[in-house]
Subunit: 240 residues, 2 copies
DNA sequence: TCAGCAATTTGATTTGGAACAATCGGATTT
DNA sequence: AAATCCGATTGTTCCAAATCAAATTGCTGA
């Protein structure tokens, strides 16, 4: 069922001039008929495609986390985007991918062939919505890379992992029966985080240790971080 | 005549799965009929819209140069995109602009109302093409901000101003009667360049002086730079 | 032509993060 | 349980770019 895969942006409706056609999202039959629903699975660190590969299909992340990155000839790497459930990848302006796509965790993908996209207005609209969302995230990340300190970068990164941030009661104790949204899974090594934030592993590690020492976070099993003081971290992002 | 305004991406055709519908670009009558062709003019440093303004129309840069930027609460600024002839702006995923748009030079814009975009497949395709192009440029700029040195940043910036770069004969003398593509107009102050490259004005100035001393460029009237040795600059971008 | 001002350049100093170098800690293997 | 491995952490030193501070250049208008 394709409607289950087109989930992430359905809450983004409004009166913007160019935002896709949300009414169609409620009736996905047109696409279901044509799309055999091909799925693809990846293990952590599998590469889906390399920069320079021929761009022939689009993918939607159904489960798991992926990253897009670019390499400089001398080996420096910059992770340019993190893709989560509902995000699409595989876009290309030219014939070839401008980034490498690699799985950070186990990943399940929905695959769309080129022709199904260009012939389906619904797909076009959904793809457009994804592009706009990615563009805004890239703008925000550009500010991080161009103007923020290491502490601000790591704090911003952590805040980005907290679901429904911006709500009130950010200091209160955990509600009974609620999932613990204050414990976030990094699903990335220190090296991957560093390459995403434009820092070195050592700097990322030092900032995390500093936040730990200040009592703002607790590190559990290195890949899982409990944010004891969300407001405190939020104040450190440079955005408040 | 709208065809004159939809120029920039016509050379980007290919077999990519999702790249707009270039055949339509040859027959722009559909759009001409509906679009009264409203134009808008800006002087240098005029703001077209502010971050947070309601997003209600799209714009195409017909002439001149603009920038998109974001501000942090303490006044730090990051220029996230430079828009030139053929580029579109005004996209929004939500109802509000995520960036401020300001003219760097005198600018002439073509204005498109929200409904004309969502009802015209041709516009949708063109907009899509623009989004994909901007996305790739943002990826490249992300690498610059995250991983490049000041010298590499400024060199990359200069190379981005050279039209048809990558051609042969980059060292040869000027052809008779050819426009001098080796003299580029910055159309930006040092502060604007610094805010684009994630540096300070002093660092930008020092790198430019260094390139001057090394005989790679000549600065004319501060806003115009003659690149005496394109290959030399190209080698400094970190990409070769 | 000459103030006056703003933008740029240049100089001196500081500093945040990189680079280099151990060490630690948890997981896996034997 | 000991050995190995690999990612993460911590310590030290170094350096590129930021910051602070003049000096210079170029532009504008009287």
């Amino acid at each position: 069922m394709v409607s289950a895969t087109l989930t992430k942006h359905s809450d983004l409706d409004g009166q913007a001039p160019f935002k896709g056609c949300q009414e169609n999202f409620k009736q996905p039959e047109g696409l279901v008929g044509k799309n055999p629903g091909r799925k693809q699975r990846l293990s952590a660190h599998d590469v889906l495609f390399y920069e320079g590969d021929k761009a022939e299909r689009l993918y939607e992340v159904v489960r798991g986390v992926m990253m897009l990155y670019k390499l400089l000839p001398d080996g420096r790497r910059q992770v340019v985007y993190i893709l989560r459930e509902g995000d699409m990848l595989g876009f290309s302006n030219r014939d070839f991918f401008d980034c490498t796509a690699e799985a950070l965790t186990e990943v399940e993908l929905q695959v769309f062939e080129g022709r199904e996209i260009s012939t389906s207005p619904m797909m076009q609209h959904y793809v457009n919505r994804c592009l706009l969302s990615q563009m805004e995230n890239l703008h925000e990340h550009t500010v991080l890379l161009g103007r923020k300190s290491a502490l601000e970068r790591v704090s911003t990164f952590l805040m980005g992992l907290v679901p429904n941030r911006g709500g009130h009661g950010c200091e209160g104790p955990l509600e009974e029966g609620q999932p613990d949204t204050r414990t976030v899974e990094l699903s990335m090594t220190r090296q991957e985080i560093a390459d995403y934030l434009g820092l070195t592993i050592e700097t990322v590690s030092r900032v995390i240790s500093q936040l730990k020492r200040r009592g703002l976070i607790k590190v559990e099993k290195q890949d899982s971080i409990h944010i004891s003081n969300i407001c405190g971290i939020c104040q450190l992002t440079g955005m408040h």
